[in-house]
């Protein structure tokens, strides 16, 4: 089973109107080459699930600037003025979610859970339209899982089976999103042979990864 595909083959799988997750935090840990190729393809009407909309000239921020996204689900959009502009003009729908809730929604989506209860957002606009449940006298919001058609993620080193080792703070949403989409494509700096990675160091098991795009030099 050869999981390695080209950048073009990867981008071909992303169709107009799909729901996609993209890993990263303010550009750190975004799959930059996959994003650049999507911008070039000019894919349209995406529903994008991502922690934030980065900066206008960096990572997922470029997809917003190119108007590839019709609906954005994120926790923070303040670093990309274009997101605010499209949100205010009505060109793009933006759903803001507390970051911990977003992370857990993705985790729940990948872990077969029907939802979870969080105290975050009680008494704020984040509770609007959500069921409240009281347990041991504490009020929680019922939050539902999130899944996507495709997750595009990034990891530093990946073996040919798809086992992933991350570097620095790039793990963020990447590891979670690997579990929560029908198809998962990882962009990596380095592909190594099966057996080259220490099983103790692997963070994301290769069973979650469908395709690997070699973004590095080897």
């Amino acid at each position: 089973m050869d999981k390695i595909i080209t950048l073009d083959q990867a981008v071909d799988k992303v169709k107009d109107g799909m729901t996609i997750m993209i890993g990263g935090f303010l550009g750190c840990g975004n799959p930059h080459r996959l994003i650049d190729a999507l911008v070039e393809k000019d894919v349209k009407n995406l529903t994008l699930i991502c922690n934030d909309s980065s900066f206008p000239d960096m990572g997922v921020g470029k997809l917003i600037v190119k108007k590839c996204v019709k609906k954005l689900i994120a926790s923070h959009v303040g670093t990309n003025p274009e997101t605010g502009r499209q949100m205010n003009s009505g060109e793009m729908e933006v759903i803001l979610v507390p970051q911990g809730t977003l992370a857990e929604q993705v985790r729940a989506g990948g872990a077969g859970l029907g939802g979870f209860l969080t105290p975050t957002g009680v008494g704020t606009v984040a509770e609007e339209g959500k069921q409240k449940i009281t347990i041991d006298e504490r009020v929680y919001l019922l939050e539902l899982p999130l899944r996507a058609d495709i997750a595009l993620i990034a990891g530093e080193t990946v073996d040919q089976f798809g086992n992933v080792v991350y570097h620095g703070a790039t793990r963020n949403f990447n590891h979670l999103m690997a579990t929560a989409a029908d198809l998962v494509i990882i962009e990596t700096e380095k592909i190594v042979e099966i057996g080259d990675l220490d099983p103790n160091s692997v963070v994301t098991p290769g069973i979650f990864i469908d395709h690997i795009v070699n973004g590095g030099g080897n």
Binding site: L26, G29, A169, R171, L176
Partner: protein, 219 residues
């Protein structure tokens, strides 16, 4: 007072609230400055919600690693013993009560401990990021801010802007004093000797109760 000196003064006073071994999450802006004033020899672990504990100071430009950034996207370092994790673990740490202290700024804070710091409808809608989780989950929530905004009250009877969280703020530290949020309202615990009690009350919309043990605010 010069605004930078005011901010430095507030950050220094906040740093005195930290204890050896505390896990601390600092917000963007003034709160970030608190890290500069942790007393020598005290071991405080800074958590960064994008996924690590052991946040160290900014590196020299030549040593920058674009994959090691703080929650504001700026290059930082990781101290020996630091550890990276994913966002679900990160917010498990935050929501689960494993952060001892979070220090955040505010647009408005009120006498019930309600906090508004994430949006101004029609003007600024950046998103809440991790703030709602931090304020709900941290054991102690400290608001570090200038006492007023261009002369307008920020410490109110009731927040008018959309809330970040309800009834979660414990302590408010400004250039004028230190205010504790209790079930019986706001108590002025310390006062900057450059101001009178009347000055502080005038700059505060909510009613302040003067603590019987009111002391001089020192840094």
């Amino acid at each position: 007072m010069d605004r930078n000196i005011i901010k430095e003064f507030i950050a220094k006073r906040v740093a005195k609230e930290l204890k050896d071994g505390d896990v601390v999450n600092l917000g963007i802006g003034l709160p970030t400055m608190v890290a500069n004033y942790v007393p020598e020899g005290m071991n405080v672990l800074f958590q960064s919600e994008n996924g690590f504990i052991g946040l160290g100071p900014a590196p020299l430009e030549s040593n920058e690693d674009p994959n090691i950034v703080n929650a504001g996207g700026q290059c930082v370092t990781v101290l020996p013993g630091g550890v990276f994790f994913d966002s679900a673990i990160s917010f498990g740490i935050i929501r689960g009560g494993h952060v001892d202290v979070t220090v955040l700024g505010a647009l408005e804070v009120d006498e019930k401990g309600n906090l508004a710091n994430w949006m101004i409808p029609g003007k600024m809608v950046p998103g809440m990021g991790g703030a709602m989780d931090l304020v709900v989950g941290a054991k102690k929530v400290i608001i570090a801010m200038e006492h007023t905004a261009k002369g307008n009250h920020k410490i109110l009877k009731e927040c008018k802007l959309p809330l970040t969280a309800a009834n979660e703020v414990n302590l408010i530290i400004t250039e004028m004093g230190v205010i504790e949020v209790t079930q019986n309202g706001l108590f002025l615990m310390e006062i900057n000797p450059n101001f009178t009690i009347e000055d502080v009350q005038k700059a505060t919309e909510a009613e302040l109760t003067i603590s019987e043990s009111l002391t001089k605010m020192e840094i």
